[in-house]
């Protein structure tokens, strides 16, 4: 009795029972069918590679940036809230011993946090209407984002050392401004951030 297609496929793939192999050795019809099954497999494997008609990387890249932006906004919101709490606590606890300098630092930080949040929103609006960037622009944006990640990490670590966080907030605002300029196509400003 001849084996069925499934049994021949198993033999082709090296998983057949001994009786099937013995049958095929003595049966020209089954041997030919086995060879045909193997030839189909070879023909399929020899089909040429195909290429997409469009480049999907820009869409993937935009999604990555959008995702990072969202994460950064969440983190920035947490950092801003923490910074505000730190300053409030400092003013409340120190009370009468609060110096003019500390008060100014608190005010400056509050302004920088607000600016930072405004720039984040502006940046988000640019990303929702994604435009095609040149390679130079994309590289600039990538470097700025990397630096922003670093500043955010240092801000998160700065804790209650409010005076140390001031220059970080200043740098964050500058980087965000440069990012907004790069996103808007105004390529004069990225040099402002040292690029």
């Amino acid at each position: 009795m001849h084996p069925d297609t499934g049994e021949l496929l198993a033999l082709r793939d090296g998983a057949a029972v001994r009786e099937v192999a013995a049958h095929v050795r003595g049966c020209p019809l089954c041997a030919a069918e086995l060879e045909r099954l193997d030839a189909v497999r070879r023909s399929l494997a020899a089909l040429p590679e195909e290429r997409p008609s469009r480049d999907v990387w820009p869409a993937v890249r935009a999604a990555v940036l959008q995702s990072r932006q969202t994460r950064r906004l969440v983190r920035a919101g947490w950092v801003a809230a923490a910074a505000a709490a730190v300053f409030t606590a400092a003013v409340t606890v120190r009370g009468v011993v609060e110096t003019i300098e500390e008060s100014r630092a608190a005010q400056a930080a509050t302004v920088l946090v607000a600016q930072s949040q405004q720039l984040e929103q502006a940046l988000q609006s640019y990303q929702t209407r994604e435009r095609v960037m040149t390679g130079w622009e994309a590289s600039t944006v990538s470097q700025l984002e990397d630096r922003l990640e670093t500043v955010d990490a240092r801000l998160a670590r700065s804790g209650e050392r409010s005076r140390e966080s001031l220059p970080l907030w200043q740098e964050r605002v500058e980087l965000l401004q440069a990012l907004v300029d790069a996103r808007s196509g105004d390529d004069a400003r990225p040099t402002y951030a040292g690029l």
Binding site: V40, R54, V60
Partner: protein, 197 residues
Amino acid sequence: MGSWFSVTLDDVTLARARRGDLGALEAVCRAFEAPVYTLARRLVRNPHDAEEVLQETFLEVVRSIERYRGDGSFAGWVRQVAASKALGRLRYHRVRAGETSLDTDEDGEAPPEPAVEPVHPGDRLDVAAALELLSDSARAVVWLHDVEGYTHDEIGALMARTASFSKSQLARAHARLREVLGRQGETERCTRTLANS
């Protein structure tokens, strides 16, 4: 075919990609563009869907690459993501069409094959065209098994079915390919001979 394991990505690029470096992620996507698209094009029915699968695969890769721990080859991991996305696309179309699953039962009783003009003895179809005449599940199984080298167990897991489902689909696929490739006269043998023996 798309050659997954001829893709060369150095360890430095892969490490940078895992850290989220956009340039390295782009290099990864560019390197796997043809293999992923070719697999997608063989499993789904049109170029538009294949491009969607390509994009979904890369989105998944860039989102999850930091979790890739090097268990098995990186190419194998990307291929697994691509196969999963392509099968998901097929399921999506089936659900939209009101069908409940990629196929019907464990015995491999699949929906009817796509309509095709009768193949006359002597007619020869290109193997790529013949592949497109198979049902979604039979086409997926024959490609994943015969070309990509997945085992029946692996295909069963990918399709949320069993190894026996994969085996029966492979046999159906080859029976159909024999029919549409126009070689009945030559080897219309065992099954009919069997029936008479």
